[in-house]
Symmetry: C2
Subunit: 216 residues, 2 copies
């Protein structure tokens, strides 16, 4: 048995800034790993890694993500407010370095596509760029934003309009096996991991044992 460490409020408050950022960003668990694609008024493309994209609801299909527009100019936020649209592109095992590099503070005039070598792709009528190298891609329309007053962040709410994914990654009942598309997950601020499926479990009911859906 390993010794259990206890970090109380005062200990956390007294941590070195960078240490605390790593620690608190890791402690909530694994996160989604996505690249958000936008375009500014002059049609300069922008791409940025986000680990806070979260499912908000299926009907209507809504997603949320957290951003902090006040600290430094956040091009993703500005572009979405200006154009009303953005894309969500899953990061896969082949593009983790390029995806991470989009977090560098490039000038607004520089496209992260040019800087990282990822390829902008335009699908349907969407003006916002997708990432050609991503396997799962979502087009979203800006719906609303909620200011989180406790720390000057914003919950952005988007409606899913189009979904693109390869044949064979979703099952008959609609579940998308993200591992079939080599999807990754983010742990903290800077680490990328590849999940392997352990099990898929039946809808839980009080008087039934927990059983697997998977045919083994």
């Amino acid at each position: 048995m390993r010794k259990i460490l206890h970090f109380d409020k005062e200990t956390i408050e007294g941590m070195d800034k960078r240490f605390r950022a790593n620690f608190i960003n890791s402690v909530t668990g694994y996160k989604s790993a996505n690249l958000l694609g936008t375009v500014d008024k002059e049609e300069v493309t922008n791409l940025a890694v986000f680990s806070s994209v979260t499912h908000l609801g299926s009907h209507p299909p809504l997603i949320g993500f957290i951003t902090r527009p006040t600290l430094v100019p956040r091009h993703t936020y500005i572009n979405i407010k200006d154009t009303g649209i953005f894309t969500i592109n899953h990061i896969n095992t082949a593009i983790i370095k390029e995806a991470h590099q989009t977090s560098a503070r490039y000038d607004a005039a520089i496209s992260e596509f040019d800087a990282t070598g990822l390829t902008a792709e335009f699908l349907g009528n969407h003006k916002a760029p997708f990432v050609k190298e991503a396997h799962i891609k979502i087009a979203c329309r800006y719906i609303n934003e909620y200011s989180i007053e406790e720390n000057s962040t914003v919950l952005m709410v988007g409606a899913i309009e189009d979904i693109y994914l390869p044949e064979g990654v979703h099952t008959e009942d609609g579940w998308i096996d993200l591992s079939e598309a080599n999807g990754v997950t983010i742990n903290g601020l800077d680490s990328y991991s590849q999940p392997q499926l352990l099990d898929r479990l039946q809808y839980a009911k009080p008087d039934k044992p927990t059983t697997s859906i998977l045919k083994k």
Copy 2:
């Protein structure tokens, strides 16, 4: 090259309800896997699996999660509003079935601890139960809630007060290696995966190549 499937707004709208729930719940990427522990006014413990716990900020240390209190009575929501406290317990590979079973609709008088065999543990002065079998545990205080009017969900905001984790899972610079604690991630509504670390990357700067932090 696999064929790319395209699902537009109308196709998604026309999906069977269960199919759409699986599909849209999977499409945002991997999610955090946590058990939220609460207690009601009569001190009956409650435990529920959540895949929406998200990092909101490090200073102050804040987390958010999404719930829908209006659809059915949500004991977690009611208990947090009544008592102001809750715990977050990471799901690990050894307890995925027990964790999933907490999503069954037990009566308020029944504790999911009794129903699933997980062990309630009380640490410090917190009245809300932790999960003894979890390796990473967080005590939180309710701070605020934001109603998301688009779909009657609520973003709950909690402040981190205490963190418990085993010795040796965090690095010198504060990063917590979740794989060291056998952490899992959720894909969709019902599947559990175990991530393996691919790489940890240096803080990105515009004119520097993307390099690994890990000593290999």
